[in-house]
Structure formats: structure tokens, C-alpha cells
């Protein structure tokens, strides 16, 4: 029966239970280097602050579980972003939620305590974050990666598409982002 045929990805061996200190050190280094980026990715897929905290922990758990099998086929940054976005997709699907909840934006990013104390720069960043969250998933993911500073080649590696397709998606995303930001300015 076909149900018994192992899937290529599922057939990869599970690492043995480990408390390897070298692995823990490597994990600590990844947390130190990428925690802000992972926090932003989690915020993109979460609905509110509590959900974001859950997802962030879920992502790091995914990184921890996958780390033992990571053989350096891509950069560590690409590895972390792959896990982060994949866990984000699974998380939002499991919760069956619409990702866009504009009221939650204030909870999802840090800024000055009250609206009256926010600077123009704070507000601009909040608008950018809000606009990226409102993009459809196929555009949101490359945009988030681009904004984190990944090169097109790295984005293509994370998404599993060609570099040319990445450029096409980024061009569309840039136009959509511009529209959203302009709409926001006009409102």
C-alpha cells in the first residue's frame, strides 16, 4: 500500500537524543545572532503577543530539533530563516487564522509606551510592519527576508525557487508594499 512508502524528507534519520554541549553552544550562538530577526518573523505570522511568544518558542524548538542534522548545505542564517518561515506557515495553518489583524500590530512590535510619545520614525516603522503583514503570504515571505538583509540568492534558497523568480516576486511585492504604504498615508 502506498501509505507505507517513506517520503523522501520524512525518511531522513532522526538524530539521537542529545545533550551535546557543542550543540548547545551552537544553539546559544544562533539565538544570540538571530533572535531579533526570528522575533520579527514570528510577529509576522502571529495574531497577538501571546501567540507570537508561542510561535517564537516553537521556531527555536524547530531550530534545536533540526540543528543536529544541519550539515552546512546552506548558511546558518538561511537555515534559521527556513525553519522560522516553515514553522510560521505550519503555526498559522494549525491555528486556522487570518494573519491580518490590524489591531494586534501594536502588541506585536515594541515602540514607545503611548501614541503621544511615539516619534514619527516609530510610526513609520509600525506602518511598514503593518504593510508587510498585510501582504499575501507568497509576497510577505520574500519581502520579510529581503528586509532582513538576505541576498536574492539566499531568499531563493529559503523559498526553494529560482533567483529569477525571486526577483519577479520581489518586484511585485515592492509595488504592493508601495500601494499599501501610500494607502496608509492617504487614510
Amino acid at each position: 500500500m502506498d501509505a507505507l512508502v517513506p517520503l523522501p524528507l520524512l525518511a531522513r534519520p532522526e538524530p539521537a537524543m542529545t545533550t551535546d554541549p557543542a550543540l548547545e553552544t551552537r544553539f546559544a550562538e544562533l539565538v544570540a545572532a538571530h533572535r531579533p530577526s526570528v522575533g520579527r518573523v514570528a510577529a509576522l505570522y502571529a495574531r497577538n503577543a501571546a501567540d507570537r511568544a508561542d510561535l517564537e518558542q516553537e521556531i527555536w524548538f524547530g531550530v534545536w530539533r533540526a540543528l543536529a542534522g544541519f550539515r552546512g548545505e546552506c548558511s546558518e542564517r538561511t537555515f534559521v530563516f527556513r525553519v522560522a518561515h516553515n514553522r510560521g506557515i505550519s503555526h498559522s495553518m494549525a491555528r486556522r487564522r487570518d494573519l491580518v489583524d490590524l489591531d494586534a500590530v501594536g502588541e506585536l512590535i515594541d515602540h514607545s509606551p503611548g501614541p503621544e510619545q511615539r516619534t514619527a520614525a516609530d510610526q513609520a516603522r509600525a506602518r511598514l510592519f503593518d504593510a508587510v503583514r498585510r501582504l499575501p503570504p507568497n509576497l510577505r515571505e520574500p519581502v520579510a527576508l529581503k528586509l532582513e538583509g538576505l541576498a536574492d540568492r539566499e531568499i531563493a534558497e529559503v523559498l526553494g525557487i529560482t533567483e529569477n523568480n525571486t526577483a519577479v516576486r520581489l518586484t511585485r511585492a515592492r509595488a504592493a508594499l508601495r500601494r499599501l504604504l501610500e494607502d496608509d498615508d492617504g487614510a
Partner: protein, 208 residues
């Protein structure tokens, strides 16, 4: 037109400006210190492994229970029931092992590969759920076949079954009913997951 990654234009400068603003977005309040986060992750890992062990332990406990039943109760009816239960448990155990295998290792695959994997896992869940109907069908058919054998060759044993026919019928109906309820609940979940995945995949495929 081919994309030239080496060439920089106004579009790149616009991205750079946005990226600069983006990276200044303070990460959402980080309630946990890094060390605490690491400990939480390791605790979650332990919990995950313990849950898996507990699930497997339940399956093995069921196997032991059925083996004990087979040792205590003799006769073709007990053997048939025990054998069917063992088949059910083995099927469940096989599913529990395979659906987990390498899942976390695959988390670092590309988004496209991850979506393909999720779709394949959905299909696998559907196949296993359908197969439970096959198992129930085989079990009920075997029971009915056994009644026929008793009726032809062991009339005294069949008379005892006939005396308890309503109990036997109720057990069969409850079995089918429970299977139907579970199947409906499970398939609804799987279908919702499949719909969400299909929508995401359409978007990704459109962009390929």
C-alpha cells in the same frame, strides 16, 4: 528578461532604505532571557520526546493486554478478536511512527519543499483514515463469517450467540458508530488543513 543580481539600481536603494527601517523595528518584547529561552526549548524537547514515548507505551500496553487476553481465552472467536485487535494496534503504531519520522529534520527544507511535505502528510493522513474503514470492514466480515461457520458446524455455540444476538448487534453498531464519529471529526480537520495548504500552494506555484 534575466535578473542581474550584480547590478544595483534605484529599486535596490529603495529596498535598502526599507530594510534599514525594518531592522530598527524593535523585536517584540522579549520576555525570556536567552538562557531561559534555551532552557524552555530543551524542556519542550524533553516533553516532546516523553509524549512520543508515552504514546508508544500506550500501544505496547494494548499489545500486552491483547496478548494476555489471547493467553487466557481460548477458541476461534477469542483468537479472531485478538488477532484483529493486534492488527488495529499495529496499524496505529505504524502511523504514529511514520507520521513523526524525520519531521523536525525536514523543518529546515525550503518553503516549497516544506509545503510539498505538508501536502504529502495530509494525503498520508487521509489514506490511513480510509484504511481504518477497511480494518473495521474486515473485522465485521470476519465476525459474520465466523457466525456462519458456527451455524453450519457448531450449532450449540451458534445457539449461544443467537441468544445474545441483540448484544452482538449492539456491539457491532457501536463499533461502526464510533468509527464513523472519529472518522468524521478527523477528516474535517484534515480537509481544513488540505484547503489551507492548497491555497498557499496555489500562491507559491503561481509565483514559480
Amino acid at each position: 528578461m534575466a535578473h542581474d543580481p550584480g547590478r544595483r539600481g534605484p529599486e535596490d536603494e529603495a529596498w535598502d532604505a526599507l530594510a534599514e527601517a525594518w531592522q530598527q523595528i524593535a523585536p517584540p518584547r522579549l520576555e525570556q532571557a536567552p538562557a531561559e529561552l534555551r532552557r524552555a526549548v530543551i524542556r519542550a524537547d524533553l516533553r516532546f520526546r516523553l509524549l512520543a514515548v508515552a504514546e508508544y507505551a500506550c500501544y505496547f500496553a494494548l499489545i500486552l493486554l491483547v496478548a494476555w487476553y489471547l493467553k487466557e481465552r481460548k477458541g476461534p472467536a477469542a483468537f479472531l478478536w485478538g488477532f484483529m485487535m493486534l492488527c488495529f494496534v499495529a496499524w496505529g503504531l505504524d502511523f504514529a511512527v511514520r507520521i513523526r519520522q524525520g519531521l523536525w529534520q525536514a523543518t529546515d527544507s525550503s518553503t516549497a519543499a516544506w509545503l510539498d511535505l505538508l501536502v504529502e502528510r495530509c494525503a498520508r493522513k487521509r489514506r490511513y483514515a480510509r484504511a481504518t474503514w477497511l480494518m473495521v470492514g474486515v473485522m465485521l466480515s470476519a465476525m459474520l463469517g465466523m457466525f456462519v461457520v458456527y451455524w453450519i458446524w457448531l450449532p450449540q455455540a451458534f445457539a449461544r450467540i443467537a441468544d445474545n444476538r441483540w448484544t452482538v448487534a449492539a456491539v457491532m453498531l457501536v463499533t461502526v458508530g464510533l468509527q464513523w464519529l472519529w472518522w468524521r471529526w478527523y477528516m474535517r480537520r484534515v480537509e481544513a488543513e488540505a484547503r489551507a495548504l492548497a491555497a498557499l500552494r496555489d500562491e507559491v506555484d503561481a509565483a514559480r
